[in-house]
């Protein structure tokens, strides 16, 4: 059989690519292009009820489906003056841990690790990597189970509703995932050890600005109403427009973000840098052992940060379960008003996700959603530009595409199905 390389598989969730223009050995331009057609979700939900919105917005992304659900819930409930019951809040936190783990497992073990282990250039996969793939599948399968139990479906679950849950997970279901989480801790630790043992190249290093939500009570976590910035500031999520300052660019359908004129990064790396010191247990021990100043300059450490977050999820799931099973199923909280305007945010796997809504007479009149990948795009372009300059000056032109793809992949961007994510145009 003739050997060919398939440039793209037709399993399309999004289209994108990165073009680097090199002229006379100098980088002349970097463009992250998102070709995926605009789906106009924000316009689609106008005139809909908050309940309808909750069913529509998770379709923005099949990986971050529950992050969108949770961010929307936070925005809509705040706008309508609803205080969700404590059990609902804890169960939503649990479902988000499932989604974070699910996304990170796929990204680390099946998408990023091959680069570090030299797999893309190898003819066949090593035995070592085969075991990592299996580990990734096991962690991902468990995470899917958490998502399914809490939301009622593996993808686009409908259980979380405004004011509570349609049905809370049973004690037996919760006990099952608690037990599985405890069993998988060793797998997550071995994953961290592997990620920590890798050589992280320095060809793109430069400091940037990081942002992450500030979880309450000095805890680590993925939910909060304040935004921490590595400049030392803290802003409210209601100020998300000033924080992201979105703009459009001609070469891409995706919007771009800057904060005070500077590109910035959100995601696991930002969370570790801004609130990593709050981690406790084995997760805290790993953070203290592994964290160093290079993390602030090198996006490749996002992979290691994600591996630590997988362990964080596994350590926290049993604690959350213990707290949830103590509580009776509360009634659904009803909205005291039909008008309001507010912003909700959660930390999605790839970073801070904002949902802003204005509701008039019980119908949505304005919606604004700012995704993590849109916030990261300017920094992706920046780091790819730096990396390209450095690799070319070091005479590593033959490894250019792989090196640049490693940088892009570290961000886990929501642009799928590009066989060659980075295209270098040489003149």
């Amino acid at each position: 059989m003739k050997t060919i390389t398939i440039d793209s598989l037709a399993r399309v969730e999004g289209h994108g690519g990165i073009t680097v223009e090199v002229e006379d050995g100098r980088v002349r331009g970097v463009r992250v292009n998102i070709h995926e057609g605009p789906r106009l979700i924000e316009a689609l939900v106008v005139g809909k009820t908050p309940e309808e919105d909750l069913n529509i917005v998770p379709r923005i992304c099949a990986i971050c489906t529950l992050s969108h659900k949770y961010a929307a819930l936070r925005g809509l409930e705040k706008a309508l003056g609803i205080e969700a019951p404590w059990k609902a809040k804890l169960t939503r936190d649990l479902m988000l841990l499932g989604e974070i783990m699910e996304s990170h497992s796929l990204h680390i073990f099946l998408l990023s690790l091959p680069d570090f282990l030299g797999y893309p250039s190898a003819i066949a996969m090593s035995d070592r990597y085969a075991e990592e793939v299996k580990r990734g599948l096991e962690l991902k399968q468990f995470a899917h189970r958490v998502m399914e139990i809490t939301s009622a479906r593996m993808i686009h679950g409908e259980n979380p509703i405004i004011g509570g849950f349609g049905r809370y997970p049973t004690d037996a279901e919760l006990s099952g995932i608690k037990e599985s989480a405890q069993e998988l801790v060793g797998e997550a630790e071995r994953g961290i050890e592997l990620l920590a043992s890798l050589d992280y190249p320095s060809f793109m290093e430069e400091e940037t600005v990081f942002m992450a939500l500030n979880p309450p009570d000095d805890h680590y976590g993925f939910v909060g109403d304040g935004v921490l910035i590595s400049t030392g500031e803290e802003r409210s999520v209601e100020e998300y427009r000033e924080l992201t300052q979105e703009r459009v660019v001609p070469h891409s359908f995706a919007k771009r973000s800057r904060y005070n004129g500077r590109s910035f990064t959100v995601g696991a790396l930002g969370r570790m840098i801004l609130v990593g010191e709050r981690l406790t247990g084995r997760t805290g021990e790993y953070f203290k052992k592994l964290y160093n100043q290079r993390w602030k300059k090198n996006p490749l450490f996002n992979n290691l940060a994600q591996a630590i977050e997988i362990l964080y999820c596994l350590e926290n799931i049993p604690e959350l379960v213990d707290e949830i099973v103590k509580l009776e199923d509360p009634p659904i909280a009803n909205p005291p008003r039909t008008d309001g305007e507010a912003t909700g945010a959660v930390e999605a796997p790839r970073g801070t996700l904002y949902h802003h809504y204005k509701i008039e007479d019980g119908l949505i009149s304005e919606a604004d959603i700012v995704t993590p990948t849109a916030q990261n795009l300017d920094d992706i372009e920046k780091y790819i530009g730096i990396a390209a300059e450095k690799l070319i000056s070091q005479g590593e032109g033959s490894n250019l595409e792989l090196g640049l793809e490693m940088v892009a992949r570290a961000y886990d961007p929501c642009i799928s199905c590009s066989a060659h994510l980075v295209k270098v145009e040489r003149r």
Binding site: M1, I4, L106, A124, K134, E405, C414, S416
Partner: protein
């Protein structure tokens, strides 16, 4: 389809195979893999799977099973052929660096299966349209029906031969 039919027939005839249909039902011809799997599922529920059942669980289960010798992934693949054209790929034919943040890449899965003594192949159908919200094209539907007819005969034949009620 005759040449491929022969190699496909040899593959599925000689092994205890599992079929996994992949694809996005909202993207025109990309529905093909799951459409075919759905049609065959009742014939052999333990040997035919759809992507939505959770690919990681399906693969981990196959790794534990002693009654699976070969795994056939079925998906639309843009390999530059004519719409509806079929092509069979072994794992060596697939780029290891295919990037998708939403889907598990096939090559590492096929490598893992190979390391555990399970051969796997990707049966690709060249799509005509992948537009969001579009229907499956006539040409891809036609080849899908041929596949269903061919694979159902093989499955029924195996059931009779093995009496395992797959």
């Amino acid at each position: 389809m005759k040449g491929l039919n022969r190699s496909l027939k040899e593959l599925v005839d000689s092994r205890l195979f599992v079929l996994i249909g992949l694809g996005n039902p909202d993207r025109g011809d990309d529905v093909m893999g799951v459409w075919v799997a759905k049609k065959l599922k009742n014939l052999a529920p333990k040997r035919v799977f759809e992507e939505d059942e959770g690919i990681e669980g399906i693969i981990l289960d196959i790794l534990k099973r002693g009654d699976v010798g070969m795994i056939l992934f079925l998906d639309t693949v843009d390999f530059g052929g004519h719409p509806g054209e079929l092509r069979l790929f072994s794992r060596e034919n697939l780029s290891p660096s295919i990037i998708s943040t939403h889907k598990i890449p096939l090559r590492p899965l096929m490598e893992l299966l190979g390391k555990k003594g399970k051969e796997s192949y990707l049966l690709g159908v060249q799509p005509r349209t992948l537009d969001f919200g579009s229907e499956m094209s006539d040409v891809v539907e036609e080849i899908s029906k041929d596949l269903i007819s061919h694979l159902s005969q093989v499955i029924i034949g195996k059931r009779k031969k093995e009496g395992d009620g797959t």
